[in-house]
């Protein structure tokens, strides 16, 4: 039997009943503290009817937004909210549109509010946050997500997706016609099946992994661009970076034509296909090579970034 050393926590001379009472009170206090919102917080739980393909706007300054598309014609919002001194969490309903959340132009930072919002799957959803993270799953309408510094993660099959976070990271694993992802410093990760994908950053890295993309443009100034996976037949992918490296990790049996243009960067290919080089008059070069039957087209341009094409 486990024993508590005397003097370790229980005052000497107190009865067992008193110690049990103290423990009970302490446990109750802990339960209350964790179960109830902290001072300044409040719980919200609302549900109301909404158009199946309406327009929904969600705003949150700090904390998190979890957005779930469901097969019901209603919106349900729940969570723990921190109102600011000037603004309160609000739900506004219009004709076919819903606006909810908290936004305050007078504060630079706010205490975190965590909200889970369930929306009709076909809704068009617009989300804006300061530092709050955004997680989306199951929405099949258009998604427009914009954050200053929050991470963004999107799953499902939205009709179209625009995701931008200045300093947060973006993870996209969707089946969609169009995807646009933008960061300044955050890392972009793209997966899924996408007809037209664009990812741009300044110093953030971009990783395209196990993604089936028909047309893609991936641009960065200093960030690395990395593709791991297969190239779809007929795909056209453009990689443009000034100083970041471009790395492609492809299966041995790849059918693609590569056009690589670098000024000071170099090209290293682990494939044995012959490389044709066209040097510029001054400096820099364009190199071309074809793997297999050349079904896809990959254009790569860098100023200083090295280009590596490796076999998986």
């Amino acid at each position: 039997m486990m024993s508590i050393p005397s003097g370790a926590g229980a005052p000497k001379g107190r009865s067992a009943a008193a110690r049990m009472a103290s423990a009970f009170l302490a446990g109750t206090a802990l339960f209350v503290a964790t179960a109830l919102p902290a001072a300044g917080q409040r719980k919200v739980a609302e549900r109301f009817a909404a158009a199946p393909d309406g327009y929904i706007r969600v705003q949150n300054i700090a904390g998190s937004v979890k957005l779930i598309g469901w097969d019901r014609d209603s919106v349900a919002v729940s969570g723990t909210i921190h109102d600011t001194p000037a603004e309160r969490f609000e739900v506004q309903r219009g004709d076919g549109s819903v606006k909810l959340g908290i936004w305050d132009t007078t504060v630079e930072r706010a205490d975190p509010s965590h909200m889970e919002v369930r929306v009709p799957a076909r809704s068009q959803v617009w989300v804006r946050t300061g530092s709050a993270t955004v997680f989306v799953d199951g929405v099949t309408g258009e998604l427009d997500i914009n954050s200053v510094g929050g991470d963004i993660e999107v799953h499902g099959a939205p009709a179209g997706l625009f995701a931008e976070s200045m300093t947060g990271g973006i993870v996209i694993d969707v089946s969609s016609a169009t995807v646009r992802a933008k960061t300044v410093t955050g890392t972009i990760r793209l997966h899924g099946v996408i007809a037209s994908a664009t990812a741009t950053s300044i110093s953030g890295n971009t990783l395209i992994e196990d993604a089936a993309i028909d047309q893609g443009t991936f641009e960065s100034v200093d960030g690395e661009l990395r593709l791991v996976g297969t190239l779809r037949r007929g795909a056209v992918l453009d990689f443009v970076t000034h100083g970041g490296a471009v790395e492609l990790l492809l299966p041995a049996a790849t059918d693609a034509e590569f056009r690589v243009s670098t000024y000071e960067g170099g090209l290293r290919s682990e494939f044995r296909a012959p490389i044709r080089t066209t040097a510029s008059k001054i400096k820099g070069s364009e190199q071309r090579f074809t793997l297999g039957q050349g079904g896809a087209l990959v254009n790569i341009r860098t100023f200083r970034g090295r280009v590596v094409v490796r076999s998986r």
Binding site: T105, E108, R109, R128, N146, V148, G149, E164, M166, T167, T178, R180, K182, V184, T185, S196, T198, T200, I202, S203, T217, E219, S220, V221, D222, D238, V240, H242, G243, S261, T262, Y263, S280, K281, I282, K283, G284, E286, R301, T302, F303, R304
Partner: protein, 227 residues
């Protein structure tokens, strides 16, 4: 003492001079009353223009008169026969035509730039085709730079006129990344001036400008959202 040229005076008034050039210009106007007055005059003009309403609806009776004249049968075109038998256009019509021409020209330029930057209209940045060789290629690149610089200056002006609403940490990160872009632009520009027919370098320059404009527009949109 040589005076600041017109471009520097305007750029200083607009706040778009680069740091070194701005310091030089400010040092000059500190001792040159003539140039200082020119800068102040332009700044006042800008302020006056900014305070003007964006739209001025003409009085209804004026509009009614215009409509009546436009629809009246046999209304002569506003051309005046000169005594010498030639034609001249009334100055007011000429001015209107000039404005229209400028608008059409600007619209065409914008359309061309947009079309060049995004031929499919997808919103995705596409390679700008600098197909000209040698000096004509350089002229095309300079025109591209000028149009981007104008757009960037416009966004920067808008940003400076409203509180960003972004935290100091975010602003620091944005500035550090703008610096990264500026360094990249400087490298690409220097390389392109040495090798003006290099399409890939022109593309690097375009991409850098596009990224810079993108960052500033994002910061501006957040500023608008919070101001």
């Amino acid at each position: 003492m040589s005076h600041l040229d017109e471009t520097h005076i305007n750029d200083l008034a607009d706040g778009v001079l680069r740091e070194h050039a701005r310091h030089v210009a400010e040092a000059h106007i500190a001792v040159c009353a003539e140039c200082r007055a020119s800068v102040e005059r332009i700044r006042r003009l800008r302020a006056d223009l900014a305070s003007l309403p964006r739209d001025i609806a003409p009085p209804e009776h004026v509009l009614a008169g215009v409509r009546a004249r436009m629809t009246a049968p046999g209304e002569p075109v506003p051309l005046v026969r000169t005594r010498a038998g030639g034609w001249h256009v009334r100055p007011s019509v000429l001015a209107a035509a000039a404005v229209l021409l400028m608008m059409l020209s600007s619209a065409a330029t914008v359309s061309w730039l947009r079309l060049t930057a995004d031929p499919a209209g997808t919103g995705a940045a596409q390679p700008l085709a600098v197909t000209e060789r040698g000096s004509s290629g350089l002229v095309a690149v300079l025109a591209m730079e000028r149009s981007y610089e104008d757009a960037i200056a416009e966004v920067q002006r808008a940003l400076s006129e409203q509180p960003s609403g972004l935290t100091a940490e975010t602003l620091r990160i944005l500035q550090a990344n703008i610096d990264i872009i500026d360094r990249a632009l400087g490298e690409a520009r220097a390389a392109l001036h040495a090798d003006p027919a290099n399409d890939a370098l022109a593309e690097m320059l375009r991409s850098g400008y596009e990224r810079k404009l993108d960052v500033l527009r994002s910061a501006s949109s957040h500023a608008r959202a919070r101001s």
